[in-house]
Each structure stands twice: as structure tokens, then as C-alpha cells.
Symmetry: D2
Subunit: 385 residues, 4 copies
């Protein structure tokens, strides 16, 4: 229990600045009230999550959505709010030039433009002190024959190599994969194998990111976690939930048992805390629910899954596994999963000087009303802004 609490106290779950802006589906983006209008206000909202959970101390930025004149000022603002700037995320899918791809586009001019954007992201990392460049590419095709799958890999490798070369000594390139969307026939980094092969060719500073919503139906994600850990290539997570495609729902809301199994693989290898080098991030869309409490809830869901994973009786598990006791080994795991860990986490929060109930505390804080009143006018932030 005490050691579980210690690990939990050290856990950091990074929130994404874009989770606080408006988002939606291709059918409609429903606007919410009190939504931030610039990166400073996004950081303020993210800081609320950390204020009530004590676990969300860093915030991922998305470039160009979070471009500012003065990154030092932005970093200082973050510090004032009690958080720090985390991962820098690139965006090479919203410029009109990128209709048929960015780093894999057949036109070298478009690839140059995309590459320059990635290099600019590293500049911003230098300016903000960020250690991780997270790359997700919307590149792919919609129709068979549209472009050469193989040539696109060559182009991708070339761009990645240039960007990798630009990284500072303590900076990493985190490469994300995704089965489909917005490309519908093929994507240029569809699975962990592709990301892994590129990373091993790039070097030790290139690592794979697992977005829990980016797999084919039936994929065993915890296997990928275990395998990448074994290979030393697990760079981080984009946590969220999905029932069907990349639904980007709150992590833990669709399949909490899967989330637990993922955390179990990590706990087994003592890979929860910051010394693991694994970036634990959220990447979600709160299309119809209020955004700040949704993020708080998501952080709590990860904490609960982690707590359960830390309660697994590893000695008993290993004994049952070694003896081929199928039901016994499964029972050890389920015993931890079936435990109600909410009191444990409440206790931890009290020890940390936090309210035991983050959701209630946030609701009582009046912050939601404040932003609704104060953020009148201006342009609400969203995926396209």
C-alpha cells in the first residue's frame, strides 16, 4: 500500500492544451462556453487539473495552434500557474498544401515546408525547455494507386532523419502511428511495427508513442507495451478511449480493464514514475462534456488503473504462472482489478494537501462560472485555431 502510494505520488500525467478548446466530429463542432481563446488561457485551464489532482504537472503544446510571440513568457506563465510545458506536437495536416500529404507528399516543395515546420517545433522546444517532439502524420492515401506506398516510406525516412539530426542532446523524437483517419486507404505510419522500424533506423533518441485509440479492432495493446518496453523503444502514451474508431473519449471510459492491463505491464517493469522516461499524456476530445472536469476525471481514471496495477501480488502471480495455474494466475490479476482503490487515492490526496474528491472540489471552486463570465468575446480555441 505505502509503496503503491509512493509510486502514485510520483506519477505525472500530461494534459494536452487542445483538450480545453472546442472539438467535434466532421458533422459538427459544438461550441462550449468559457473556452480558452489563446495558449495562456489553455494553460490556466490545464493548471486547474493539476491543482485538484496533483498529478497533471505538465501540458503539451500543439504547433501552430499554440504559437505565441514569446515562448519564455508562455513558460513563465505556466510556472506561475503551477505547471510546466511538456511535449511539443507538430501539425502538418491543416495547411492547404498538405491535402495529399506532408512529409510523404510527392512534391519536394511540400515536403520542405512540412520539414521546416518540424524544425520550427524543435526551435520551440529549445525555447520552452521541452524534451519531447511528438510527431503524428495524417499522411496517407484515400484510394488504391493514389500514390506509391514504398516511395512515401523513402520520403518519410528522409524527413525523419533530418529532424532527428536537429535534436539536442536531451531531446527525443516520439513517433506516433495510426491505423486510419483522416486517410482512408492507407496511412504512412499505420502500426507500431512501422514506427519501431523507423525509430531503430534513426537512433536511440527516437521512440514509439502508443495512442490507445489508433489500433485495429482486437489489437492487444498491452502486448505492444510489453514488447516495446523489452526493446527499449516505448516513448510514451496518448491516452484516450474508443469503442469503434479513434473516438478520443475519456481514457478509462470504454474499457477500464484494458487500461488496467496496460498499466499492469508498466508496473511490472517499474515504468510508472518519471525516471522511466515514458511520457504519459492524454489526447482526447471532449465534444459534448465540459472540458476541465472531463480532463480531471480522465487523470483520476489513469490513477485508479495505476493503483490497481500496483496492487497486483507479483509474487503470487509469478508463482501461479510458473506452475501453469491458469485460473490462479488470472485470479491474482482480477483480485487487484476488482479492488476498489478510490479510498486509497483519496487518502493519498489528503496526504498531499489536496481535496480527497477532485471533481467535487473543482465544481465547488467556481472556476467554471468564472471562465464563462470572463471569457466573453474573442475567438474560442479549437482544432482549427
Amino acid at each position: 500500500m505505502e509503496s503503491a502510494k509512493q509510486v502514485l505520488a510520483s506519477q505525472n500525467i500530461e494534459t494536452p492544451s487542445w483538450a480545453f478548446g472546442n472539438s467535434g466530429t466532421r458533422f459538427k463542432v459544438f461550441a462550449q462556453q468559457g473556452v480558452p481563446r489563446d495558449p495562456f488561457e489553455k494553460l490556466a485551464d490545464a493548471a486547474q487539473v493539476h491543482r485538484f489532482t496533483g498529478t497533471a504537472g505538465s501540458v503539451a503544446l500543439h504547433i501552430p495552434w499554440d504559437k505565441v510571440e514569446d515562448y519564455a513568457a508562455l513558460a513563465a506563465h505556466a510556472a506561475e500557474q503551477g505547471v510546466r510545458i511538456g511535449t511539443i506536437n507538430s501539425n502538418t495536416f491543416q495547411d492547404d498544401d498538405f491535402m495529399l500529404g506532408s512529409v510523404c507528399h510527392p512534391d519536394p516543395g511540400v515536403r520542405r515546408k512540412a520539414t521546416d515546420h518540424l524544425l520550427e517545433c524543435v526551435d520551440i522546444m529549445d525555447a520552452t525547455g521541452s524534451a519531447d517532439l511528438k510527431l503524428w502524420f495524417a499522411d496517407g492515401t484515400n484510394y488504391p494507386g493514389q500514390d506509391s506506398i514504398a516511395d512515401r516510406q523513402d520520403r518519410l525516412a528522409e524527413v525523419l532523419s533530418e529532424v532527428y539530426g536537429r535534436l539536442g542532446e536531451d531531446q527525443r523524437l516520439l513517433l506516433e502511428y495510426k491505423l486510419f483517419e483522416p486517410s482512408f486507404y492507407h496511412t504512412d505510419v499505420p502500426d507500431w511495427g512501422t514506427a519501431y522500424a523507423h525509430c531503430t533506423e534513426l537512433g536511440p533518441k527516437a521512440q514509439v508513442v502508443i495512442d490507445t485509440g489508433h489500433h485495429a479492432p482486437g489489437t492487444n495493446i498491452e502486448f505492444i507495451v510489453a514488447f516495446l518496453l523489452r526493446q527499449g523503444r516505448l516513448g510514451g502514451f496518448d491516452f484516450n478511449s474508443r469503442f469503434y474508431a479513434d473516438d478520443d473519449l475519456m481514457v478509462g471510459s470504454a474499457d477500464p480493464f484494458q487500461l488496467f492491463r496496460i498499466l499492469h505491464e508498466l508496473a511490472l517493469r517499474e515504468a510508472i514514475g518519471p525516471s522511466s522516461g515514458i511520457a504519459y499524456m492524454l489526447d482526447q476530445c471532449h465534444n459534448i462534456e465540459p472540458k476541465i472536469p472531463a480532463v480531471i476525471r480522465s487523470v483520476m481514471n489513469v490513477q485508479e488503473a495505476t493503483a490497481k496495477a500496483l496492487l497486483v501480488d507479483r509474487a503470487a502471480l509469478e508463482a501461479a504462472q510458473t506452475s501453469g495455474d491458469v485460473l490462479g494466475a488470472n485470479a491474482v490479476l482480477m483480485d487487484a482489478y476488482n479492488t476498489d482503490v478510490r479510498a486509497l487515492l483519496s487518502d493519498l490526496r489528503v496526504e498531499q494537501g489536496l481535496d480527497p474528491d477532485p471533481m467535487a472540489a473543482y465544481a465547488a471552486s467556481g472556476y467554471a462560472d468564472d471562465i464563462k463570465s470572463n471569457r466573453q468575446g474573442g475567438q474560442a480555441a479549437g482544432w482549427g485555431a
Copy 2:
């Protein structure tokens, strides 16, 4: 061959007005040049498809995207262009009030608003002479517990009943189902069974629409076709292609064999021509390809699948089936599928006074350049406009 040509000559494939406007994914809508700015220009574009294929004589409207002051004028404009107005499609997913649903919303006021929209669609049918009201509801929930699945069914049934009662004698209600998106936990009409059950409770004027992109992976769509035909409840199709989710690619581009199998079930029951009462429609998004030629190509793809289906040697098929000759029966079907029917369709076009190659003829027509030049200014039509 001749009888196949006769059926093909009678085939009508309805094009959707919205296919000619801009569309995209949640990540980006890439604007194209020359896109129509109002329903009149959409009809003009749709007429080009008919001009070169001879098969796309009707155009589906989407309300409110295609709202006009004077529907008689719109219908007259269509007639001038050589097409007619087909299905009326409702939209109850883009008003801010519909964030948590429309006809299934817990608030009776919101349901009233949605119902009134549907009734207005019937008014427009009366004004345009349309026979079919096509209903697709984005209703559903994103999170378990968010709303009562069962109560929402009751609300849905009540609204459908009111709208059904408003239909004229020769008007039909076509109910579409969809597994997911934009709702991610449950949708209120997720599958054909749900649509079928509601239709049988409503009465004979209620029929099920199959959108080929709206199923779970692995669903055998031609089974559903055969089953609904048997029950007398197949109202129509929304044709498109998908590799993963509801990708809305050009019909026949992802799995042409599946399209053939669907048409085979229809051909077997003489359900291709207009007397079948089945509305054959396209419902696609041409996000990255030029829209008019993409629709022409889609119409041709349906024609080719139909031609192959009409070439199936039914007597040989039945003989093989009856005798339990698995390979023989399959071979009869594959023999038709493997036939190159493009010359047959070229011949048919020439007989109809059309160019044998619709794609080339459109390209040579100069229409694409014309609309790029002439449609300067104004607001390009799109899913949100």
C-alpha cells in the same frame, strides 16, 4: 446481353447535392475551386453527371443545406438542367440544441424542434414532388450511462409515428441506420434490425435504407439486402465505400466484389429498375478528389457491378446450388464477376447517344474550367452550409 442492356438502360442512380460541395474530416476540410455556392449550382453540377452517364437523373436534397425560397423554381431549374429532385434528406445534427440528440433528446422541447424540422421536410417534398423522406439521425451517446437507451427508443418511436402520419399517399419514410459516428458509445438506430423493427411498427410506407458504410467490420451486407427484400422492407441504398469506418469513398473503390455481390442479390429479384421501388443513391465525400468526375466514376462503378450481376448465368447457378456443387456454384458467380463489362457499357452509351467514355467526355467538356472561372466570390457550399 440485350436484356442486361435493357435493365442497365432503365437504371437510375441518384446523386446527392452535398457531394458537390466541400467536405472533409474532423481534421480539415480542404476547399476545392469551382465548388457550388447554392442549391442551383449544385443541381447544375449534378446535371453534368447525368449528361455524361445517362443514369443519374435525380438529385437528392439535404435540408437545411438546400433550403431555398421557391422550391418550384428549384424544381424547374432542375428540369431545365435535365434532372429532377429526388429524396429529401433531413438534418437534425447541426443545430446547437442537438448536442445531446434530436428526436431522442431527453428534453421534449428539443424533440419538438427536431420533429418540426422533419415535418418541414415533408412540406418540401410536397413542394418539389419528392416521394421519399430519408431519415438519418446522429442521435446517440458518447458515454455509458449518459442517457437511457430504452427511453430514447420510446422517444424515437413517438416522433417517427408523428412524421409517418404526415406522409402523403405516395410518400415514403426511409429509415437509415448507422453503427457509430458522430456518437461513439451507442447510436439510437445502430443496425438494420432496429430500423426494420421501427418500420414494421410504423406501416408499409416505412422502409429501411442501407448505407454501405454503416456496418460493423465483417458484416455481410448482401445478406441484409436479401433479407429485407424478402420482407418487403428494402427502401434504398446510400452507396459509398469504406476500408475502416464510414469513410464515404467512391462506391466500388474499396471492395468492388462486395458491390457486385450486393447487386447480384438485387438482380436475382429483378430489383434493379425503377419499378422495384428501391432508391439507389450515392452518399459520398470527395475530400481530396475533384467532385464531379468522382461522382461520374462512382455512377460508372455501380453500372459495372450491375452489368456483371446481370450476366450471372442463373440457371447454371441454381443447378449447381441445388446439387451441392460448392465450387461449381461459386465459379458461376466468379465467371460473371471476372468478365470485363466496360465494352458492353460503352456500347450501351453509344446506343443512348452518349459518349462511350464519360470521364474523358467530361474532361473534354471544359465544364471544370468554367466553374473555376465563373464561381468566384460567394461562400462555397459544404457540410456546414
Copy 3:
């Protein structure tokens, strides 16, 4: 809490006789020791499950696997063991004549044979006092064109009608659906919609059975539960777990949250207890784990999911739903799910005079060793015997 206990005390989960015999995959059936060699021994094993859980009072038979000379003797033997005979399950997939189907076979002679088997099952129901005939058909095709999908529906309807006509006043026909396997192109009852349509045509004694492993990926099973309950057509469940296809693992082992959501829909409609008329059955394969404890564990998993479902604060849920409080409504559900109900169930067992820990009590009983010693020689029961 007390009312939850009351409902739990009334719950009956039927075990299948075949779960105690050997099973496997197409690659290998691994034989276990102490496996029953006849229906009497299967009932003895099933009685152990009831002895330690108090919840598994009925046992499903599978014909012809469980054919005996004297069904009255078998029923008496069951009663001596403390259980009763439940559902009668038909088998029309293992006779060589059924290679291309049974009730849908193109040959009327084969259909007659299959129908006669079903009628014999009703005879056995009369002899054993069983109320439910559960029909699952392996019928379907492997290749497009192999047989007429539509004609097979007609044949199916005809057979079902004859069997329905043979049912006694208090007997029901429970129709199961399955997406695929052992047929790989189409199955003749692939989804709930098909089963539902046949049942409504047959009459009120025909009901749909949901096997939780028989759906396409992404299917929302609790929606089907809610819908069939609304239509009065939910006859029962075949519980098991799946990660990919019809894996037939222990219920609750793959997605315990889904199992909870299913039970929640049932609890909402007071449909847990025997008065609901819903047959709660297990249908699982314990290929690599010892069978009796696997079934005990499965029964406990259903109990735990039920207990959580009964703890949902319905008033709070409805209030949150009505007010459109997405996070609040979801939280009410998750609050129940996250509760550890194992102590509640242990208490209930003690009140019922049972050991609080069924797994440990069974292990301590020595039964497993007894059957290993006593069941030497003979032919172990299995799927094929």
C-alpha cells in the same frame, strides 16, 4: 443493499453440460483428467457448481451429446444432485449429412432429418420437463454463390414454423444468432435482427437468445438487450467472453465492464430474477483450464456484475440523464462499477449457508481428486461425443 441481496439470492445461472467435457480448437482438443464420460457424470459436476455458488440450479442439455435411454432417470439423478434439467439444445451440425447445412440445406431430405431432430428435442423436453428449446444453426455457406441466401431463409422459416407448432403451451423456442463460424461467408441467422424477424413471424413463444460472443467487432450488445426487452423478445443469454471471435472464454474475463453494462440494462427493467422469463445460461469452452472451477468462477463473475448493476443509484442516474449532465450520469454508473462487491456476495453466501469463498471451498472439497481417480477408463465426453 438488502434489496440487491434479495435479487441476487433469486438469480439462477444455468450451466451447460458440455462445459464439463473436453473442448478445444480446430488445432487441438487437449484432454483433461477426470472428465465426465456420460450425462450423469456431467450433471454431477454441474451440481458441484451449484453446491458452492447456490446460483446454478439448472443444467442445459445438448442433444445428441446427452442422449440417454431414460430421461426420467436422468431428471431424477439431477434432482438427487440438487439440480434440475434446463434448456434443451439441438445439434444439427455434426452429422455428415449436414455438411452444407441442416434446416437450410437445398435437399428436402436433409431438412427433414434436421427437423426430426428438432422435434425429438421437444420430445425430450416433454420427458425432462424442460421449458426451453434453444436453437443454434451452424447453417450458412463458405463461398459467395454457394447457395441462395434468400431460398435458405424460406427453408428456415418453414422448419421453424413446424417446430413452433409442436411446442407445448409452456414451452418456448429460443433462437440464437451468430455472425460466423463454422460458416465463413454467410450464416443463415447472422444477427439479432434476423432472429427477431423470424420470432415475430412465429409468435409469442419464439424469443431471441443473445450469445455474447456472436457479434461483429464493435457491436453494442447492451443496446440489443435494451431493444429486445422493449419489444418483449429477449429469451435468454449464452454468456461467455471474447477478445476476437467466438472465443468462448469465461464470462467476464475479457471485458467485465461490458458484462456490467449488459446487467445494468437488465437490472433497470427488473429482469434479473426468474419471473423475468429470461434464461441466463453459460456457454463456454474451458480448453486449458480445469472445468468445474472455471464454471464456478464464471458464475461468480456474473454475480459480481449483477451486484454492481443492482447498486446503480437509479434516481441519481435519471436525474443526471434528464438534465443532460453527461459526466454526472456516467459517474453514477461508474461509481457502481468501481465498487468492490465481493464482500457483499460473501455475506450473501454465508446467509445462504454457503462458504463465502466458492473457489477455495471447491478446491478444499477434494472433488477434483476424486473424479481423477474414479473416472478411469471409458470415453471422456467432448464436443464430438
Copy 4:
């Protein structure tokens, strides 16, 4: 056309000895008449496929199913029949010791036994002159927690390394992956990424095998083909078709367009002929159709897909791709796919001295009747024998 014929004439498609024996599902193995009773008879049947197609000159063996006293005699028998022995396939899933795994089993004794079997397979390769050892492992778990995912990888790597070290200079290890079945929670080599990572660690003689039925729904197989070709790690194919899981139907029968797309990637890289080093194999189960004609048909399906792929106008394709002409590039591909290549292949056969219609020629040969008459008595070969 001529160059296409040249490539087609050089193509070899290996047939599997086990395709000629009985197979089935877990529900039933339907026995067919005239089925071979030993490896010699299997080779005789395989030779029929080559006799009528001219393209199936090698036959894969499966050990221990095809164990014989004298492998030189078996190879000589093959040569007499006009075929040669190809890949050696291992089987570590049917011994009772392998219930919980083979090379990944927690017990070192079981791993030793499995490893020895693999080494024996290399001995047989030496004796038969086979160049390729194809490894597919049924290893995995059914329940979360059952065994350590990570430890199993270590065990796997150790065994692979030992076997790799035993290979002769011109021998290869082909590692196959599979998403699921017969293991249902996790498999130890679930995807191409896992196989690829192990192969790169082993060395240049280790290559990945793609079984077209072993992927999650929605997986873009041609991407994997293109990627592995780029990395120099594509060792071969196990061709078959699937609608749902690993259905093992005739290749090209479920999604002929996908098969064409796969061959297109190979044709683009001149990787069809034997100099490519890619082993093109069938791996299918003919559960309900006669086996020899099913294999002939399968070979023809691969030939037709290859022919279409060879007809793609590469210059036009590249021009359209480079200019970003989405519809044009897709049209080039579809133009080849829509071509009826059956006459081309008939011509080729006549040039090769074969009957233009292999199916009819086989049917007319009387071989099917001969084996039904001559193969009375004995034990028909099957998956378990």
C-alpha cells in the same frame, strides 16, 4: 503482354500437403472420399495441381504430419510425380505437453522438447533439400495474467536463436505471425512488427511470412508487403482468404481486389519470379469443397491477380501519382484490375502445352474417381494425423 506472360510462366505457387487431407472447424471435420492416407499420396494429389496448372511445382511438408522413414524416397517420389519438396513446416501445438505453449512455455523442459522438434525439422530440410523452415507458433495465453507476456518473448528469442544457429548456409527461417487462434487473449507473435523485430535480431536468414488471414480487421496487407520488401525482410506468403477470422478459404475468393493490390506491390518491385526469393505458398482448408480442384482454382486465382498486376501501366501510374492526380492514378490501377485476363492465361497454358482450362481438364481426367476407388481402407490424413 509478352513480358507479363514471361513472368507468369516463371511463377511458382507452392501447395501445402495438408490441403489434401481432411480439415474442418472445432465443430466438425467432414470426411471426404479419396483423401490421401500418407505423405506419398498427398504428393500425388499435389502433383495433379501442377500437372494442370504448370505453376505449382513445389509442395510444403508439415512435420510430424508428413514424417516418413526415408525422406530421400519421399523426395524421389515427388520428383517422379513432377514436383519437388518445398518448405518444411513445424508443428508445436498438438502434443499434450504444449497445452500452455511450446517455445514460450514456462517449463524449460517443454521448451527443450519444442526446440528439438524444430531442430529435427532442419534435419528433414537437409534430407529433403528444402531451403525454408516455416515457423508458426500457436503459443499464447487465453486469460490476462495467465503468463508473463515479456518473459515469453525472452524464451521465444532464445529458442529462435538456437534454431537460427542450426541453419545451413542456404537455409532460411521464415517466421509467421498471427493475431489470434488458437490462443485467445494474446499470441506470442501477433503481428508483423513482432516477427520483424525478432528477424532483424536473428540475422539475414530470418524473414517474415505473411499469412493473408492472420490480421486484425481493417489491416492494409499490401502496406506490410511494401514495407517488408523495402526492409528486405519479406520471406514469403501463406495465401488464403478470410471474411472474418482465419477462415482459410480459397485465396482470392473473399476479396480478389485485395489480392490484386498485394500482387501489385510485388509486381512493382519485380518480386514475382523465383529470383525474388519470396516463397509463394497456399495455406488453406477445403472443409466442404473437393480438395484438388479447390487448390487448382486457388492457383488460378493467384495467377489471375498476378496477370492483372503485371498489366498495370506503371509509367501512367507514376505520372498520375507525381502530379497528384488522385482519380487518374486510381483509374490506372482499376483499369488493370477490371481487365479480363483469363484469355491471356489460357493462351499461356496452351503455349506451355497445357489444357487452357485446368478445372475442366482435371474433371475430365478421371483422377477424382480413381482416388475414391483406390483409397479404400486406411486412415485418411487430416490435421491431426
